[in-house]
Amino acid sequence: MFDPILQQILAIARDAWAFMAGLLIVVALLGGLYFVLQGTAGMAFGGSRMTSMAIIGVVGLVIIVLFAFLFLPQVGEMLKNFQPAAPF
């Protein structure tokens, strides 16, 4: 009875996932560009702290994106395995 509704919800959720994944890539690319700009500006006028902060920022962004695309699907698989039947 509820299966057609669930299929509709899952279709919307899949679209939302694809949208958010795309948005995450765009934000990460913009962030990467910003940090590269910050790093080159720091190098240009000898701001070593600015450059090192920019490098750390880029590494952090890469870690966040990898976390989203590798860890979250694993969490989903794990929860899917735990999905219980009705306990009543």
Partner: protein
């Protein structure tokens, strides 16, 4: 009465399956929404926002584990404590029907509470873990109350 109970329980079981499927989808959406927040906050240099999102992500995983591992165990434990009415006649049948219905409704209510908190996290809001726990506690308290009320009602109405 038994047929009516099995019909209602089958309806509730289907609702449980649909809600669990939607819950799983929204856990993942909430997760990616919080990661998106973390990435944009780290780009802006908003430390507090990053920590808020990291804690929201952790609470989403906690809610997911609680919903899929904790709620079925709680419902099974409480349902075994609910007495099917002793005695005979319509009171007994009504008691059995009521205890089955109370268990099903409480399970669905607890899953719905966790679903709503994950839904709010998936649209970028704070994941209201405490609200979900409060609603679960209310459902548990209701079941405990019902486990005392059913034998009392049977006693008042008279059992054979």
């Amino acid at each position: 009465m038994n047929e009516a109970a099995s019909l209602v329980l089958a309806f509730l079981r289907e609702a449980w399956l649909a809600l669990a499927g939607a819950f799983l989808a929204f856990v993942l959406l909430a997760g990616i929404a919080q990661v998106l927040r973390v990435s944009s906050a780290s780009m802006l240099g908003a430390n507090l926002w990053v920590w808020e999102s990291v804690s929201a992500l952790l609470s989403i995983v906690m809610i997911g584990l609680f919903a899929f591992l904790g709620i079925p165990q709680i419902v099974s434990a409480l349902q075994s404590s609910l007495p099917g009415a002793g005695g005979c006649g319509p009171i007994s049948e009504l008691g059995t029907f009521a205890s089955a219905l109370i268990g099903g409704l409480a399970a669905l209510r607890m899953l719905k509470a966790t679903f709503i908190s994950v839904l709010s996290a998936s649209i970028g809001g704070a994941s209201s873990f405490s609200h979900a726990l409060i609603e679960c506690a209310e459902a548990i308290f209701g079941m405990i109350l019902a486990s005392a009320a059913i034998p009392l009602a049977a006693w008042f109405l008279g059992t054979c």
